[in-house]
């Protein structure tokens, strides 16, 4: 396999080009499908294969920036992006992000920041995952039975399955009101939108994650977007935050350009396939896979926390295996589903 090894000049390590392309491909599929960056997977993967953590983060952000251009273009073409809402989310989230970052700095002075933030991460991911499972297995079945099970109803007349939380927020008529036609939202208070994105930005700053992980479920459950519009629109936040992160890390010399380019080649192919798969999988199917993914991400953080508490390297290895395994399995599921649906569409089944 030495023939596939390349020299990465900045980090100064030999790396197998096939592994880089595979990591890029997996993260591309996941990013295109869920409308997020996939940093939760690439950063530890690069770190496991010998990148120092800061270089792994910087290289990952550069890759996310490149791949999110392709994902945004693809979702734009499929009509999945609400630019108006996306640009509001980017602008307001920056303010929330800075507040979250300041809280982290304050926590660092107490010397216990890592521990507190990891537990916040666990609570956030576990809570969100449980809610999404509940939504999938209980709420949406009930809602479908109540509203859409009228025989003979044309598909175009079926109303989007909005969350109850979003519908309650629409009732608050605090001016100025704003509409988002692409997202099928007739009127919602601008203040509510600002408050929601301030909170998501704060969570991003506190937990140090790019945004897609938080924005996508927020758009679905709090603002009431259809799932695939949420996937496309959350990519705007990912695009801008990763562009910023890429530049800042590169200025600090923490980006390995050669690795980032190779990752991007794999990711660009993956991202187009992932974004195309959205077309073939129902909105609630996407939500279910997302819930499974973040449940395993939470499990990985809990395992990592055990390592920090006990010092046993077994837990660290387990955390890494859970992360990489989850990414590979989710990628395989998406590809399999896409393949089956395309075969069905072409009438081969």
């Amino acid at each position: 396999m030495n023939v596939f090894n390349i020299n990465l000049p900045v980090v100064g390590v030999q790396f197998n080009i096939l592994i880089l392309v595979l990591i890029g491909f997996c993260v591309g599929v996941i990013a295109g499908f869920f409308g997020e960056g996939g940093g939760w997977f690439v950063t530890p993967a690069l770190n496991i294969f010998g990148f120092p953590m800061a270089y792994a983060i910087g290289t990952c952000l550069s890759n996310i920036f490149g791949q999110s251009i392709g994902a945004t273009k693809r979702h734009q073409r499929m009509g999945n992006i609400d630019w108006k809402l996306g640009l509001i989310s980017v602008t307001v989230s920056i303010v929330g992000f800075e507040i979250g970052s300041q809280v982290v700095l304050a926590l660092e002075k107490t010397g216990n920041a890592g521990n507190i933030i990891r537990w916040c991460y666990v609570v956030f991911l576990s809570g969100l995952s449980c809610f999404m499972f509940y939504d999938y297995f209980v709420l949406q079945k009930r809602q479908l039975n109540d509203e859409n099970e009228i025989p003979g109803t044309p598909v175009e007349d079926i109303q989007p399955c909005r969350s109850k939380i979003a519908e309650r927020l629409y009732i608050i008529k605090l001016p100025p009101m704003i509409s988002f036609p692409i997202s099928q939202i007739k009127a919602v208070s601008l203040w509510i939108i600002i408050a929601i994105f301030l909170c998501t930005g704060f969570c991003s700053g506190l937990l140090g994650i790019g945004g897609g992980f938080i924005i996508m479920p927020t758009l679905i459950y709090l603002i009431g977007l259809p799932t695939i519009i949420a996937v496309g629109t959350s990519l705007i936040t990912v695009l801008f935050s990763s562009a910023y992160g890429c530049f800042i890390y590169a200025v600090n010399g923490r980006v390995e350009l050669v690795a980032a380019v190779i990752l991007l080649i794999g990711a660009s192919i993956g991202v187009q396939i992932g974004a195309t798969a959205v077309k073939y999988i129902k909105g609630y199917g996407i939500r279910l896979l997302f819930a499974i993914m973040i449940a395993f991400a939470a499990l990985s953080v809990i395992t990592e926390q055990f390592y920090k508490m006990t010092g046993k390297s077994f837990f660290q290895t387990m955390a890494e295996i859970i992360l990489l395994g989850t990414a590979l399995i989710i990628t395989t599921i998406i590809l399999s589903k896409l393949y089956i649906e395309i075969r069905k569409e072409r009438g081969r089944y």
């Binding site: 550069s62 350009l257 195309t276």
Partner: protein, 100 residues
């Protein structure tokens, strides 16, 4: 929104990043990355690797601009390229109807 507007907004982000912040970069858990004087050993390097290493050693700002532009250009090129390839395989890449 046109591609020109997107590029203009991205450039604006980069300018803001330059103006306000060139020493901070957050990651998971809010760890901070400080500047470091890491220099790449160029003795065994040649070609593109040597050029990248020289750029990295001599001018970090230029290195950052090159990294950002390369990723943007490659991301855009690959997006168009893979679009064509998917079309060749018969995958529909146009507007879709939404199903929950």
């Amino acid at each position: 929104m046109s591609i020109k507007k997107i590029i203009a907004l991205l450039l604006l982000c980069i300018v803001i990043a330059c103006a306000f912040n060139n020493s901070y970069a957050g990651d998971v858990g809010g760890k901070e990355v400080t500047s470091l004087d890491h220099k790449v050993d160029t003795t065994n390097l040649s070609g593109v690797n040597l050029w990248i290493a020289d750029l990295y050693n001599n001018n970090k700002l230029m290195y950052a601009i090159v990294v950002t532009l390369v990723m943007a250009a490659l991301g855009t090129t690959m997006a168009f390229g893979t679009d064509l390839i998917l079309k060749m395989f018969g995958m529909d890449v146009t507007k879709i109807s939404h199903r929950e």
